[in-house]
């Protein structure tokens, strides 16, 4: 071995994790499929700071003065828009990807907090409908389990065009998770690798989408709001086309958004971060004079009340959480560590949702693992987490002098980095400089 340290230095182009992936690919001959979201660092809400009130602004008393959190979604066309107590919703996650106990936990907590949950690929389960007072029913490209009876039971519909973790790609549910019940809901043989389609079977493009939305409205007698969900890529165009197609609500999911199973190359290399996506979506709505008329829900890497506050300050009406909700249920928690080890991972690094062997009983269909997440325990954790997010959100809003969280605005924030300043279009801290911005 050389005595000179220079000879021992690793390559910046081929660091350990890159070398390891090349070795794995050479051994197995297939791309890596995994769950969770992007692991690379991208510009995000951590790169923004709030400017609390001072001499020029006065704050609200944190423990006494009201700070509203309610939001109404779907005011454009629906007879019955959703009235939520908090602007934090639960994102679509399928029964199949998640076990029944996890879905029920999310439903119970959302109901207790006055917010909505969302179905996913595979359709609506009886348990989910009964646990969730307000349930958004996804209309996905696969159409697994889609039926008009459930359509009419839903409180809102969400036409899923794309997902932040994999815009342009379809879903995957590997054979080990296709149990008898999951297979039955999806009309598939047990144990096969299930590939969800990447585009809808009966429409292509924005003109068709408009007709499709109209059909869904007709079937549901114009009763419920219709969302359109897009993965964040060409966000300005997608949002405007969704509005043109008649969406009541647009959901924009940034690249930090999670998935139950997708190619790693997709998760890490396709889509744009949530931070610029929010700003682009808001600008797109404002150009059409539809901001606040068509509501905007933002998702993808929302973790804290601060993240919620920053998304709302940039102009979102609500946020949606998926990965963070799973973490609240116990995902990556340092328990059952032997089971993590059996998967070749450890708490904090686990992304093995695709295996169906989730050590904490969330992304599994195995009864012995699901028992580790009793619905009442999961619901309590989730409710606590949502309550914490709301308290954090209100703390920031009051500190900025806002009597409602929707009164937060870009002017309340500065950026820590040049990249974040350019993406969010707020000034770099200590300057009045917004890169790339001209009045």
């Amino acid at each position: 071995m050389s005595v000179y340290k220079r000879a021992q230095r690793p390559s910046a182009t081929f660091p350990d994790h890159v070398l390891s992936e090349i070795h794995r690919a050479a051994d197995q001959g297939i791309y890596e499929i995994r769950g969770f979201g992007a692991k690379r660092r991208v510009p995000g809400f951590d790169d923004l700071l709030f400017l609390g009130a001072s001499v020029s602004r006065y704050p609200l008393e944190g423990y006494r003065e009201a700070c509203g959190t309610d939001v109404v979604l779907g005011t454009r066309h629906a007879k019955n828009p959703l009235r939520l107590k908090i602007p934090i919703t639960i994102a679509g996650m399928s029964f199949g990807a998640l076990g029944a106990n996890a879905k029920e936990s999310l439903g119970r907590a959302a109901t207790a907090m006055g917010t909505s949950t969302t179905t996913g690929d595979g359709g609506m389960t009886v348990e989910e409908r009964s646990a969730s007072e307000t349930l958004v029913y996804q209309v996905l490209p696969s159409r697994y389990g889609l039926n008009p009876d459930d359509l009419r039971k839903a409180d809102a519909l969400e036409v899923v065009v794309g997902q932040g973790a994999k815009p342009g790609g379809g879903g995957m549910l590997l054979g080990q998770k296709i149990t008898e019940r999951v297979a039955g809901m999806r009309t598939l043989p047990e144990g096969i690798d299930q590939r969800s389609a990447c585009r809808h079977p009966d429409w292509t493009g924005p003109d068709d989408l408009e007709i499709k939305i109209n059909e869904l409205r007709e079937i549901t007698d114009w009763r419920v709001p219709i969302y359109v969900k897009v993965g964040a890529t060409r966000t300005r165009y997608d949002v405007q086309l969704a509005v043109k197609a008649g969406a009541d609500v647009v959901v924009v999911d940034g690249m930090q958004g999670g998935t139950a199973a997708t190619q790693d190359v997709f998760i890490e290399h396709v889509g744009i971060p949530t931070l610029p996506a929010v700003r682009l979506a808001v600008e797109a709505l404002k150009e059409l004079r539809m901001h606040r008329k068509v509501q905007l829900i933002v998702s993808g890497g929302i973790r804290s009340g601060a993240d919620v506050a920053k998304a709302l300050a940039l102009g979102a009406d609500a946020v949606s959480i998926g990965s963070a909700a799973m973490v609240a249920l116990g995902c990556n928690k340092p328990v059952y560590e032997d089971d993590y080890a059996r998967l070749g991972t450890e708490p904090g690094c686990c992304h093995h949702c695709h295996t169906g062997a989730c050590p904490v009983g969330i992304t599994t269909q195995r009864p012995e693992l699901e028992e580790r997440l009793p619905p009442e325990v999961g619901a309590r954790r989730m409710r606590n987490y949502l309550a914490t997010l709301v308290l954090e959100l209100q703390t920031i809003a009051r500190a900025c002098g806002k009597s409602h969280v929707h009164n937060l605005e870009p002017e309340d924030m500065v950026a820590l980095t040049v990249e974040a300043a350019a993406m969010a279009r707020v000034p770099l801290a200590g300057t009045d400089w917004i890169p790339g911005w001209r009045e």
Binding site: Q28, G29, I30, S142, R143, L146, N147, P148, L151, G175, R186, T187, L188, P189, G191, I192, D193, R195, A197, P201, D202, W203, D208, I211, K212, N214, E215, E218, I219, T220, D221, W222
Partner: protein, 227 residues
Amino acid sequence: MREFDLEVDSVRDLNAALHALTEEDRDRDFLVCHPNGRHSVAVGAMLEADIRIEGHVGYYCAGMNQRARVQVRGNVGPGVAENMMSGMVQVTGNASQYAGASGRGGLLVIEGDASSRCGISMKGVNIVVRGSVGHMSAFMAQAGALVVCGDAGQHLGDSIYEARLYVRGTVRSLGADCVEKDMTDEHVKELSGLLLAAGIEADAREFRRYGSARRLYNFNIDHVDEY
């Protein structure tokens, strides 16, 4: 007989009337005139009813149909009977693309030709086409049967699961993982029943059967060329 003239009444009026039907209603015959290519005509029907549409319709006619018998005396636009659950939809003319997409039950009969992606993602519906079907028909078809009395275009049954395909004429090409299979007595019996239900006189033994080779059901590096 309830009549809806879509030059006077709206599609909303028609669909609302269909959705308002109850099990106690005795008058369940609907006549729809002058559809003139309108979209979403007679969608979301829930109960047994006879709905006759005189003329051509646009997208998604009879979408998500349950239990009703819908007859279109004309041509239909894309997505006729999409996601139908039960009942019967009959088209006397031709159908545009995605006919019967993701249908889960019931019978769709097309007396003319059907364009591309007929039966895409079908999940249990039975589709009988007296004429020919376009390319990528039965793409990702999961369950049910697609009967083509004429010819089939390119890539029939691409990425097919457990649906059964019967074609009397030529098949331009088969899609990934779709292969010709033996026509057993059981299949002749099923096909004969479908032809009878569709009102088409044809000898089931003249058809060939296609289905999944099941090579793509679980990833195998040695089948990578198929993906």
